[in-house]
Symmetry: C2
Subunit: 254 residues, 2 copies
C-alpha cells in the first residue's frame, strides 16, 4: 500500500520553516505499514494545491496533507481541493457552533475568516481539533483516503494520532535498526551491501549514511529495515542482517 504526503505553504518552499510536519507524517505512515512513495511541497496557490491532490490521488492509497486550514486569506486548501474535484463546500453546523463557542470564550468577534473554517467538502468526515479551532478533514476519493490536517505542528500532531489508529495496516510491519561502523568508507562497504540486498531479495533494505566524525575518521550509519506480516519476523530479519554486516566489517578490517 502506497502513501503520499503534501505539505502546503510558501514558508516551507522559501526555507523559512524546516518541514518537520513532513517528517512526522512520513514516520507515522511508514510505521503504519505503508510505502511512503512521494511528497509534494506546494505554495499557497490554488492551482498548485489542486494539482498536487489530483496527481497523487491516482497513485496512492492514502494521502496526508498539512497546512492551509486556518483563517487567513492564504489558507485555501479546502477551497482548492473542492474546486479541483468539483466537490461543493458545505457549512458544517457543528463546527460552526464550536467556532462560536471558542470565539465567545475568547471574547472575540465572529468574522467570515473564522466562519471559513467550518466550510468542508460535501461528504467529508471531520477529525477533531483537540488543540486549536479548524477541524481536520477526511475524504474518500475513489480508492484513495485523503486526510487534510492543519499546518500548526501541535494541532497536526494530535490529529496524526487519531488517523494512525484508523489506517494502520494489520498485515504489514516494518522494523528497522542501525549500527555505527567506524573506519570504513561507504564505497568500500557498497559492494557487500549490494550482495546482502540480493541475498535477502525484496525482504530487507540496507542504507548507509556517511556521518561527520569529530576525529576526522570516516563513520557510517548502516541502517537495515525489513517488512513482513509479523512484527517479530521483521525484527529478527533486521537483527540477522545486522549480524551479517558486523561480520563483513570484521572481514574488511582483518
Amino acid at each position: 500500500m502506497k502513501a503520499c504526503i503534501i505539505t502546503i505553504g510558501n514558508e516551507i518552499l522559501k526555507g523559512k520553516t524546516v518541514n518537520t510536519n513532513f517528517t512526522e507524517i512520513g514516520r507515522m505512515l511508514y510505521f503504519s505499514g505503508y510505502d511512503v512513495y512521494r511528497g509534494m511541497i506546494v505554495p499557497d496557490v490554488k492551482e498548485e494545491i489542486g494539482n498536487a491532490f489530483r496527481s497523487l490521488a491516482g497513485l496512492c492509497d492514502v494521502i496526508v496533507s498539512s497546512g492551509g486550514l486556518g483563517p487567513t486569506f492564504d489558507d485555501i486548501t479546502v477551497a482548492s481541493f473542492g474546486e479541483e474535484f468539483k466537490i461543493p463546500l458545505v457549512l458544517d453546523k457543528e463546527t460552526l457552533l464550536t467556532i462560536k463557542r471558542i470565539t465567545e470564550r475568547r471574547g472575540v468577534e465572529m468574522t467570515k475568516e473564522r466562519e471559513k473554517m467550518a466550510l468542508i467538502p460535501e461528504g467529508s468526515t471531520l477529525i477533531a481539533n483537540e488543540v486549536g479551532t479548524a477541524p481536520g478533514i477526511e475524504y474518500q476519493k475513489e480508492s484513495t483516503i485523503i486526510f487534510m490536517l492543519p499546518g500548526v505542528p501541535v494541532e497536526m500532531r494530535s490529529m496524526l494520532k487519531q488517523i494512525e489508529s484508523k489506517i494502520k495496516l494489520k498485515d504489514s510491519f516494518y522494523a528497522e535498526n542501525s549500527i555505527l561502523i567506524q573506519g570504513i568508507y561507504e564505497a568500500t562497504l557498497a559492494p557487500y551491501v549490494t550482495e546482502l540486498m540480493n541475498k535477502h531479495k525484496g525482504k530487507v533494505y540496507i542504507k548507509s549514511h556517511p556521518m561527520i566524525n569529530k576525529g576526522g575518521e570516516s563513520a557510517l550509519e548502516v541502517e537495515v529495515s525489513a517488512k513482513s506480516e509479523m512484527l517479530e519476523t521483521s525484527k529478527s530479519t533486521v537483527a540477522e542482517v545486522l549480524r551479517e554486516i558486523r561480520s563483513i566489517e570484521k572481514k574488511i578490517k582483518s
Copy 2:
C-alpha cells in the same frame, strides 16, 4: 523566475531524516530572487526520480536536486536523469583521476561503485566537491538549468554557495522581516491582513504564524516580505508595512 527543488531518498519519505537540505536550498533560491514554486520528495526509485525531473523541467527556470550521487546501489540520480531524457552517460576523466587520488590517499581499493561517481550526463558542467568525492552536476535542459547536488549536507552546502553566485538574479531582490504580536488571535488580524495585501497589491506578502506561547497567551509572528528591482526599495516597503501592522495592533487593542 521560478525555481523548484527535488530531494531524493527513502530516508526523507519515511521520516528518518528531517529535510534540512530542502530548507537550505529553498532559502538560497528565495534570496537569489526566485519564486520557489514546487518541491518534490521522491524515493530511490528510477522512474520516480526521472518523473520528478521531467515534470518540473517544463515548469521552472532552475531546478536544484539533492541526494543520490554517492557510491551505493541506490545512488541512482544521474542514471535516472540520463535514462529519462535519453542523455548518454560518459566517464569524466578528470573526476576519475580525482577519485583515484582520493582512494590512493585513503589506502582503499578502486571499485566500480567508486568509478560510478565519475559517470555524468554528456554535456554536463561539473560542480567541484570541496568536501567529499562525488561532484555536483549542472545541466542545461532547454530553458531550464538543472543542478544535481549530493545529499550529504556538508557537501550539498558547499556546492550551494558555488551555484548561488551563478544564478543570483540582478533585478529581483527580496526583503523580509517579522514582528511578534501578543494577545491577538490570527483570525482577528486576518481581515486587516487581507486589506493590507490589497492595498499593496502584488508588492508585498504578509503571512501570520501562530506561535506556542509559554504563558498560554496567543502570540502571532507576522512576517512581511517584498520583492522589487532594488534591495533598498524592498526593505523600505517591508518596514512601511510592518509599521502599518503595528498601528492595526494598537487599534485592535484600544
